[in-house]
């Protein structure tokens, strides 16, 4: 059932659109006409439809089954969100239209901002970041700008727990910082003593995910915030796991200075095979003056969009992107928020945590939990239960594919060996979790029973067998090229 590439099937003289015939007037291109062949194949509409429908069926998706990717938060994407985002009044408006013709859109952005600020208990939000990592950049740039404004030229060291997402250190570096890793303690949380030892007047701040990537709430978070603030730094909170606590805990109450919010994780805008995302970033009073443009501001006449730095209060650190942010995602996220409401968001967090703990409780006897006690919204296992079985975490994950499930997150966080991070989210039913746990239980038992071959050859029921990623990297083929005719050689 292999599907050829469009380049192998389409032809440059075929097309799937009808357009009126050009009139053939003289061009005004200043001689810059494109004369050489481009080589883009076309397909008639029926062929194009079939090609992409068939390709789609080679994907796993949340609409097909449980997607237990820890740290990624694959939850149900309500179709109401899709419907609302497609209303012509939201989808078919231009970012540079006169503002008097887009007042509803600006109001929608304002409403979203209000929800985000209220849920986090913060006074400011920058909506424009295009994704989570872009939001991190937004937060860390504000910290850098605040330090610069204070004349703090020495504070360039950022503390990052070893369990952090890779984006954290990468972002810090993009702001001209260096990173310093804080180890985890035996409970999977920041080692407070190690943290204290690392404080100093060259510390710009800390980047902390909470709940952290081990699925645990950082109990000492207020103390950490106080320590950082006392030492003159800022507290960046990675909001990737906000979905575990939204509606129950307001990060502003924990002392954070900046936090991005992945609208696609917490507020269920679809992942779309890798994007687009949206990463609005909230700020404390201390950092609010440095928030980038554009901004939405509430005035006595409603919400207003400020596009230019000169028109903004404070000292914006700049602009992060053309235009105003991911409006399509704003519409979806606001729809999701309104659907859930204050009560529903709280219930969702609770159910997410309940579901993860249920998995932990059901599997702790056959798999090895990385840490003792309960967890937040995701359950972390290590590979001790696979010891001497000849089965690796990767093999175990690939075997899940043959059972009809997407694998969990593997080998992350880095703090435990052969990590398996399972996040069910709140949109799974108990019976669905039971089926999933039954499967993992049976797999764990099969591994222990010496069926390593079955694991190593997995998957066998997927659209492809295991793919050779090493070959791909060693000899990169990043595009299709026309086959060279043998006769021509």
């Amino acid at each position: 059932q292999s599907e050829p590439l469009i380049f192998e099937r389409g032809r440059t003289d075929n097309t799937g659109v009808d357009l009126p015939e050009p009139k053939g007037i003289k061009t005004r291109l200043g001689g810059l006409d494109r004369t050489a062949a481009i080589g883009l194949p076309g397909l008639a509409e029926p062929e194009a439809m079939r090609h992409y429908v068939r390709l789609s069926r080679k994907n796993y998706a949340i609409d097909l089954g449980l997607y237990p990717l820890g740290s990624c938060t694959m939850k149900h994407n309500p179709r109401l969100n899709e419907k609302m985002a497609r209303l012509p009044g939201l989808a078919d408006i231009h970012p540079m239209q006169p503002q008097q013709t887009v007042e509803g859109a600006i109001e929608l952005m304002g409403e979203l901002a209000h929800w985000l600020m209220t849920l986090t208990n913060t006074p400011c939000v920058a909506l424009s970041p295009k994704a989570g990592a872009h939001g991190e950049l937004c937060g860390m740039m504000a910290i850098r700008a605040a330090l610069d404004a204070r004349g703090e030229t020495k504070r360039r060291r950022v503390l990052v727990p070893e369990s952090a997402h890779g984006t954290n250190p990468a972002t810090a570096v993009q702001c001209g910082f260096t990173t310093d890793e804080i180890p985890a303690d035996a409970t999977g949380r920041v080692d407070l003593e190690a943290l204290k030892a690392k404080l100093g007047d060259d510390v710009a701040g800390i980047m902390l995910t909470n709940p952290n990537t081990c699925g645990l709430f950082e109990r000492d978070i207020k103390e950490i915030a106080d320590l950082i603030h006392e030492s003159g730094g800022y507290f960046y909170c990675d909001g990737a796991n906000f979905n575990a606590i939204v509606g129950r805990v307001r990060p502003g109450d924990l002392g954070i200075d900046a936090m991005h919010i992945n609208l696609h994780k917490t507020f269920s805008t679809p992942h779309g095979g890798g994007g687009p995302g949206s990463g609005p970033t909230v700020f404390s009073e201390a950092l609010a003056p440095y928030a980038p443009v554009p901004r939405v501001e509430q005035t006595s006449e409603g919400w207003r969009l400020i596009e230019q730095e000169a028109d903004a209060d404070g000292e914006p650190f700049g602009r992060m992107t053309a235009f105003h942010g991911q409006m399509g995602m704003f519409s979806r996220a606001l729809t999701y928020m309104l659907s859930h409401g204050s009560d529903g968001l709280k219930q969702a967090s609770e159910d997410a945590v309940l579901n993860a703990n249920y998995i932990l409780a059901r599997l702790k006897h056959v798999m090895t939990p990385a840490f003792d006690g309960t967890c937040m919204h995701e359950a972390l296992f290590d590979d001790r239960f696979l010891k001497d079985t000849g089965v690796t975490t990767l093999d175990f994950a690939k075997a899940m594919i043959d059972e009809g499930y997407h694998p969990m997150t593997m080998y992350f966080p880095l703090v435990v060996h052969g990590a398996m991070l399972i996040e069910p989210t709140e949109t799974e039913s108990k019976s669905g979790l039971d089926r999933f746990c039954d499967v993992l239980e049976a797999l764990a038992e099969a591994a222990k029973a010496g069926e390593a071959d079955r694991f190593r050859s997995a998957p066998v029921h997927a659209p492809t067998k295991r793919l050779d990623e090493t070959l791909a990297a060693r000899n990169p083929v990043l595009r299709w090229t026309p086959p060279v005719a043998t006769a021509a050689e």
């Binding site: 076309g42 992409y52 540079m96 008097q100 109450d253 095979g273 204050s342 659209p463 050779d468 595009r479």
Partner: protein
């Protein structure tokens, strides 16, 4: 709660299995002071119908581009997207899939990304492309960072006709990386003395064509001047449809080409999500320094062709602080929309579409310049051009709104305090004869 499958009984059973008494027992790590007593001060949940009514009311306050004669461009363009595109990107398997880290069950996403990369390379005339960026402006910034890393130089020169949002975004991204970004003053009449600023320390020159005023540029002299000094040329575009009619950056020798893909497959969406295109020459050093994801071809255990994400040692989730960029998310679904629309167009359709855009713009330019006092500033353009008006353009645009015409972008909205009499006007295949007439008539009335 329609999205939450657990019933009260389920919750009770599960708590019992976990061995705790209440849900609060799972949140005991939260400091007491941060535990909310009740719920956050926001409205409670709404029915589907209530939500629809609420959001529809907001939507109804806006003027959709399709509902009026519409000539706004300046970085985003109103094009017709075939209905097939939206149908396909709403397929559950595309819409609700994650990043294709498990290639065996992600071939749909991976093969389309491979097709996307190839299409972008062909369109731009470059050798390779990545699997998309957030948008054109961030792609521009990342390109400058990449050029700096490739050349090991710390200076960048931006043309004065680069979209100012792109220039600002680039400056922000480079701000703390100690890359010195120099932007030429705003100018609609060419590149001015841009080439004089290129030195042996220059990592790259950034030129947009068609530029923010609609003007087309021949990049060959820029390439020659830059390469003479060992600098790279980054070509930028905001209107991908132009590449169906206008010589590509690759043909003119650019080293890196970035742009906004919105014009093909993606709607206006008030500015986002869009899709950044990022292409470059096939140079090992370039490729190892690319930002963002790459799909690559490989084989499975049976030797059959398949696709995977590759060269991930460039990326943050592997390389952490040594990554080429902090980017994680791409613009996958928009890239898919781009790919599907491009597949429907094919070269034949793209060339015809581009031609139509150009002809409509030429027609419009003739009509508007026949209005007394209006002067065309752009002698070579694709589907967008700039006019000199006898009055400040911002006021003219507002007056046109009253006449029911969305008549372009005043240059002063992009370059505050400058070019007050300049209006940037775009025309596309969606503009009818009646639209053009309405615009010319309205302009005559308001001037």
């Amino acid at each position: 709660m329609r999205y939450l499958p657990l019933t009260p009984q389920d919750r009770a059973d599960m708590l019992a299995r976990i061995g705790v008494k209440s849900i609060d027992d799972l949140f005991t790590d939260v400091p007491q002071a941060a535990r909310l007593g009740g719920t956050v001060d926001l409205p409670n949940h709404m029915t589907e119908l209530e939500v629809e009514r609420h959001v529809s009311k907001l939507a109804a306050k806006n003027t959709p581009a399709s509902s009026v004669p519409f000539f706004v461009g300046a970085g985003a363009y109103k094009h017709h997207v075939p209905s097939t595109v939206d149908h396909l990107i709403q397929r559950s398997e595309f819409l609700t899939a994650y990043t294709p880290y498990q290639p065996e069950i992600s071939q749909g996403t991976l093969q389309t990304l491979f097709e996307f990369q190839t299409q972008v390379a062909l369109l731009t005339g470059m050798d390779v492309a990545n699997a998309s960026m957030y948008d054109g402006s961030t792609a521009c910034g990342e390109a400058v960072v990449m050029a700096s890393r490739v050349t090991k130089r710390k200076k960048a020169v931006l043309a004065g006709s680069l979209h100012p949002h792109y220039a600002d975004t680039t400056k922000t991204l480079c701000k703390y990386l100690d890359i010195d970004v120099v932007s030429e003053p705003a100018r609609h009449d060419g590149l001015g003395k841009l080439l004089d600023h290129i030195t042996e320390e220059t990592a790259c020159v950034v030129v947009q064509t068609p530029d923010v005023f609609g003007r087309l540029h021949d990049l060959e002299p820029v390439v020659k001047a830059a390469h003479d000094k060992g600098a790279l040329v980054i070509a930028v575009f905001t209107e991908p449809v132009s590449l169906g009619l206008v010589k590509s950056p690759g043909e003119m020798g650019a080293d890196i080409c970035v742009g906004e893909g919105q014009g093909i497959g993606v709607g206006l969406n008030f500015g986002g999500p869009y899709v950044g295109l990022f292409a470059c020459k096939n140079d090992r050093n370039f490729i190892r320094n690319l930002p963002g994801r790459l799909a690559g071809e490989t084989v499975d255990a049976d030797g059959r062709r398949g696709f995977v994400l590759t060269l991930s040692t460039r990326e943050q989730h592997i390389r952490r602080e040594k990554a080429t960029s902090n980017i994680c998310t791409n613009s996958g679904l928009c890239a898919l929309a781009f790919t599907i629309h491009m597949t429907l167009l094919g070269e034949k359709g793209l060339r015809q579409l581009a031609r139509l855009n150009h002809e409509t713009a030429c027609d419009l330019a003739d009509r508007l310049t026949s209005v007394p006092g209006v002067e065309l500033l752009t002698d070579r353009f694709f589907n967008e051009f700039s006019l000199k008006l006898p009055k400040p353009a911002a006021g003219v645009v507002d007056a046109l709104v009253e006449k029911g015409v969305l008549g372009g972008v005043p240059a002063s909205r992009l370059f505050p305090g400058a070019l007050e009499d300049v209006l940037i006007v775009a025309a596309t295949e969606t503009n009818t004869e009646a639209d053009l007439t309405a615009f010319a008539d309205a302009l005559k009335e308001v001037l």
